[in-house]
């Protein structure tokens, strides 16, 4: 009797041999818990939320009436106030994304193409560090700066919200663009120069097309994070309202979960459309 033959009969040995032969079983085991969590529980919760959006609330008792109705979506589309708020939210998200893009691109370019490798390392750390500082702390810092007797003293409102959101999400735009520019070989820029292209033309025909997926990856963050935000608006927005505030107020003060759920579908649909549109650019691989 050889030792291997005895070992072959221990349960552990049999289990590993079985797993080794059956890749499908290994895969199912690996996917089981994550898919139960994210696929069944999380997606289930999302699905349930959207079913709730088709229910209504009894205005008299405040109870949820579990009958399918389009009334929430009708309100959402026909009442001017919600259309204004939805458009305003999208406007804020677009503004934040554009501001961040304009600030982040030159910064990322200087980091990736002008700085020495040693300086690059420190610059990446310098951009990353504020990401670890608390979101609330940063919004709070702007509240203090913008307050009437603060450093800037500009006061609160929609502009303050856009400024603060741009500040909050700026590193999310810098990092993907920096990574994209780093992957762009310097030789391409040199070749463009040798062929007679000046700075702007090199940018338009070489740099921008090749870093576009990275820009999109950054914009997914800035756009989505701005679209769902209601905390910053509360901190520096004064009386302005975004989609997030409508959702929040309908859960809290108004206690109207079905309507809140209906409102919440708006940013989700916008984000899904956006993600589907940018999937083709290959940007999602950059996240």
């Amino acid at each position: 009797m050889t030792p291997t033959a005895t070992a072959g009969r221990t349960p552990r040995r049999r289990l590993t041999a079985f797993l080794h032969r059956h890749a499908g079983v290994r895969l199912s085991l690996l996917l089981s818990a994550p898919l139960l969590w994210l696929g069944v529980a999380y997606l289930g919760a999302l699905a349930a939320l959207f079913v709730t959006a088709l229910w209504s609330t009894d205005t008299f008792t405040g109870d949820v009436v579990k009958e399918l109705t389009w009334v929430n979506f009708q309100d959402l589309f026909t009442l001017d106030v919600y259309r204004t708020i939805a458009l305003r939210s999208v406007g804020v998200a677009v503004a934040v994304t554009l501001i961040d893009l304009v600030i982040a691109f030159p910064m990322a370019f200087a980091m990736a193409k002008l700085a020495s490798p040693r300086a690059q390392r420190w610059l990446v750390i310098a951009v990353l560090t504020p990401l670890w500082a608390s979101y609330l702390v940063k919004a709070y810092a702007w509240r203090i700066m913008l307050s009437a007797d603060g450093v800037l003293g500009w006061g609160y409102g929609l502009t303050a919200t856009i400024l603060t959101l741009s500040y909050l999400w700026l590193p999310y735009m810098i990092l993907p663009i920096y990574a994209g520019l780093e992957r762009l070989p310097d030789s391409l820029l040199d070749a463009a120069g040798d062929l007679g292209a000046r700075g702007p033309r090199t940018f338009r025909t070489v740099v921008w097309p090749l870093t576009f997926p990275a820009v999109i990856a950054g914009s997914v963050f800035t756009f989505s994070l701005s679209l769902g935000d209601y905390i910053t608006v509360k901190i520096v927005g004064g009386t302005s309202q975004l989609i997030g505030n409508v959702v929040y107020d309908n859960i809290g003060a108004a206690n109207n979960l079905p309507f809140a759920a209906a409102v919440a579908t708006v940013p989700v649909v916008i984000m899904l459309v956006y993600l589907a549109a940018v999937r083709r650019t290959g940007a999602l691989e950059n996240l």
Binding site: A48, V124, S134, Y140, I144, D149, G199, S224, L227, P267
Partner: protein, 269 residues
């Protein structure tokens, strides 16, 4: 590269200005934590450590800090297990719906936090209330783990791609079974990726407020919830400012660790 002198100077200036914009607000919070003036009138009128003492002695702050640490550790532990499992499945196998699975992992951070928040809140109440269980710290942990999986997944996936499988095959050829190979070869090779992903997961959880708002029970108050609650109370302003300043200082720790861990590429999501 053939950039003109002016263009170079302009780019460097923009980088410097951008970094200035990033850091000045944080510095102002730090300076204000020593400001004698209660309303932070600028410029500061005097220096005091009174607010730091008050914050140190505040039980509200301590309890909140402890709740945040517990939530962060719990969520990180779950994210480490789930994220590693998915990363292995995606990297080592081909299967139907692979793209859908990788998109699914991304979904909790791609969707606005308030959507995840109310979806979970709704689900928790529907599932738990019949059993007489109410929201608490564990629901916060579940909520946070949902969006923390992606950070571990990204780090482990990148590591597995770089690692290849030749060492594992060598180990198997030498007679080690699946578990021994994992313990002696695979795990040590991806340890720093796990630490980096775990660190990010913890930081993400520690900072989160929106999902937390909707998944925390009545008695649970994490640090962000505490800050938000006290932000609009004028008499608490100095203490809130100190907590903010302390968090800014504390954020240097993870960045230092992340740099040590993986030589610079740990911080990106």
């Amino acid at each position: 590269m053939n950039l003109s002198r002016t263009a170079r100077t302009a780019l460097w200036a923009m980088l410097a200005a951008g970094l200035g914009v990033i850091y000045v607000p944080l510095l102002i919070v730090l300076v204000n934590s020593f400001n004698t003036d209660r309303t932070f009138a600028w410029p500061p009128t005097g220096f005091t450590v009174r607010w730091w003492e008050a914050a140190w002695n505040s039980t509200g702050v301590r309890d909140a800090l402890w709740a945040s640490v517990q939530a962060g550790l719990g969520a990180t532990a779950i994210a480490l297990v789930l994220g590693t499992m998915v990363a292995f499945a995606i990297q080592r196998y081909d299967f139907f719906g692979k793209n859908a699975v990788s998109l699914l992992i991304l979904l909790p951070i791609a969707l606005p936090g308030i959507v995840t928040g109310i979806a979970l809140n709704n689900a928790f109440r529907a599932v738990l209330e019949p059993f007489g269980v109410s929201l608490g710290l564990f629901t916060v942990i579940i909520g946070h783990a949902t969006f923390c999986v992606v950070t571990v997944y990204n780090n482990v996936l990148a590591r597995l791609r770089r690692m290849g499988s030749s060492l594992e095959e060598a180990s198997a050829d030498l007679g080690a079974d699946t578990f021994t190979t994992f313990r002696l070869i695979t795990f040590p090779m991806m340890r720093s990726a796990l630490l980096a992903g775990g660190l990010l997961a913890f930081a993400l959880s520690f900072d989160e407020i929106i999902v937390t708002t909707f998944t925390a029970g009545a008695g649970v108050r994490t640090l962000p919830l505490w800050i938000f609650e006290n932000l609009f109370r004028p008499n608490q302003a100095p203490v809130v400012n100190v907590v903010a300043a302390a968090l800014i200082v504390a954020s240097i720790v993870p960045i230092y660790l992340a740099q040590r861990l993986s030589g610079g590429d740990a911080g990106t999501r």
